[in-house]
Subunit: 432 residues, 2 copies
Amino acid sequence: MEAITKPTILSGVLELSPEDQRLFEKMLEVIRKHFTRHAYYPLDTTVMEKSEVLLAKGGGETEKQIYRFEKGSNDISLRFDLTVPLARYVAQHFSELEFPFNRYQIGKVYRGERKQKGRYREFYQCDVDIIGHNTLHVLNDAQIPKVMDEIFQELRLPHYAFFINNRVILNAYLEKIGVTDPVETLRILDKLMKIGEEKVKEELLLAGITQAEEVLAIARITGTNTERLDALTCLCDSDRYKQGVKDLQTVYEGMLALDIPEDRIVIDPTITRGLDYYTGTVYETFITDHEEIGSICSGGRYDNLSSHYTKQELPGVGMSIGLTRLFTKLREDGLMEIETDPVADVAIVTFPGTEIHALRLANQLREAGCAVMVQLEKGKIGKKMQTIDKRGIPHVILLGEDEVKNGTATLRDMHTGEQVTKKLDEVIADLV
Amino acid sequence: MEAITKPTILSGVLELSPEDQRLFEKMLEVIRKHFTRHAYYPLDTTVMEKSEVLLAKGGGETEKQIYRFEKGSNDISLRFDLTVPLARYVAQHFSELEFPFNRYQIGKVYRGERKQKGRYREFYQCDVDIIGHNTLHVLNDAQIPKVMDEIFQELRLPHYAFFINNRVILNAYLEKIGVTDPVETLRILDKLMKIGEEKVKEELLLAGITQAEEVLAIARITGTNTERLDALTCLCDSDRYKQGVKDLQTVYEGMLALDIPEDRIVIDPTITRGLDYYTGTVYETFITDHEEIGSICSGGRYDNLSSHYTKQELPGVGMSIGLTRLFTKLREDGLMEIETDPVADVAIVTFPGTEIHALRLANQLREAGCAVMVQLEKGKIGKKMQTIDKRGIPHVILLGEDEVKNGTATLRDMHTGEQVTKKLDEVIADLV
């Protein structure tokens, strides 16, 4: 008798049950379909990267979470997102690629985060990005949320909205009103949704930002999207600011042209998406009435994706779905409305001596397009039917000795319990 | 100007070009389709496992290749195959699973192998396994190669054959002829295909295995599969041996019943699949005329999958495609016969002022099922057409100011160069 090792996994990683995994795969299939219809190229970068390359940008927060190790003479890190590897890939293969280069990637990323409910250390991201060479038209920023919108519609997500903004607006505005520490100001403003206006004001004043009222003025803009754009236009007259508002308006109009309904777009001048990285459009996506889930899909425009790896100017825009988190949240909160088909259209139950006939029949049914499971084990018929029922398989074919002798099969409808014995051909015809 | 880090990846890992990745994705799609039609559940275990769990079995060769590291208090290893994680998963979730449990998994595995052409340190495996509880009918061993056969047929692989054997045959035979060191004998016999009969005989004698002639007798069995089975039956009369031959025969008959043609099955009593792990049926798959590629899909039956993790008896059978290696080999040797569709059915080229109209048109076309790319950048029309042509997109819509004014579009066939200006509706109708 050998020693038994307790079968467990690392904490903070997720493994699904077979049925939940089927649901997850269905989501992946929908996502891939729409990315493909929008002509994004798939890309599959390595999970292990050279640490010096992956961490070229440096930066404290992320770096602490990296899974980093040595093997032989290699200093290796597991990727923590799909954007840095994209930047590296595009710089590396610059001369072979056609621009604009539009790619999607679905893959696992790794972050050794502190333990926290709903946070995972290994999780799927689904990214789309469009990378230009030297220039990238601002209307690309409308194409990115459109493909996400198609995906979310087919996944039957509860009502959600894309919150969009342009970072230039806030930056230029803060400059105009004389804020000398825009980074700290934005950091505090970013808490607006969590802590409310009063607290934000307190914190701003505490940080010595005397323009707290003017900062909050931009957050108080309300009304329809058109009203918001109008209000924004009037708020400040620097040229840079005006260009930011104009770009935001163009993206908004592009989204409407792409048939994203008005009620799924919110122009929100307080959206900042962290404090570095993005330089223009920024997006967050919230499920209405479930903002506690956090943003389910976010991203933005960056002036120069690959600046750490190449002197080429490669502006880009992209969004990313945190799919593992989205899946578990929808599942937990009962918001998952899509369903999978049963794992098989039909299960064939064999009896001693009929197994090989069952294989032949299974083959005919599969060639006709059915998903078929063959039950070959000996055992009580009741237990077999129970397993088939638990798996949600709607039909069973019972193939006994008599059936084989007569060239028939018994077809049972698992919902109604009805059972008929018919010629094999007729049974196949019934199922196809 | 910031410092530039040279964008490179670790040696021994593979990243494909966007077009090659599309081909790889097509292979994945075909594989998933057939696994699904055979009612295998998808499974997605974690890439990072606890080292003590992953390495519970111990074993020198593999262990040296493991990517293993610590993070916080965790001793972590990257999975080196999909079978050990399956064993762990099934033991861990034993009470929630229905048996037989049939699952597929497609995922990357990690092996820090010595540098060698055609070997990768990160590569895809595509596995199917059927796991029983206490018993597992031997005809399951015929179902496993069948799903692989369907996949290889749709992938239009050059002629290949499944080489099948049952380990019991060789083991019982060696016992019967009085070989005291079967492990060493099998190790040497395993080289037959590489070094030939003479050398094998020399090595056997050198190792003190005096029954070299009798050992080779089993390797010299030739003829049709039926003739081979007959010859095997006559070779030895121990009960265990006879059971081995009978099981091999059953698997063979099952494969025929499942419509795998005779010429894609080779009963080969020298196939051993390494020296531990497998206990019954073993499979290797070779491309005829390209045996130097090595086995492209292999596996077998193991008596007790999860013995390191549970006292439950869980016999299993499975096969695995080394997809990264298969893909690169087919590509390099010009044996890849499948093709992808173009990345888009149509590209819309815009002119200043028509961009938003192009988005609207793109949306209509996508809703009608077309894959559409929108070209928004300013620039020379010739260069744009070149990029579209390189991408193999068969149609272009030119949307200029005049076209927008007249509600028309100009449709160009990229193969013939023909170009017509028509009403928008007609252009859409032409493409759908």
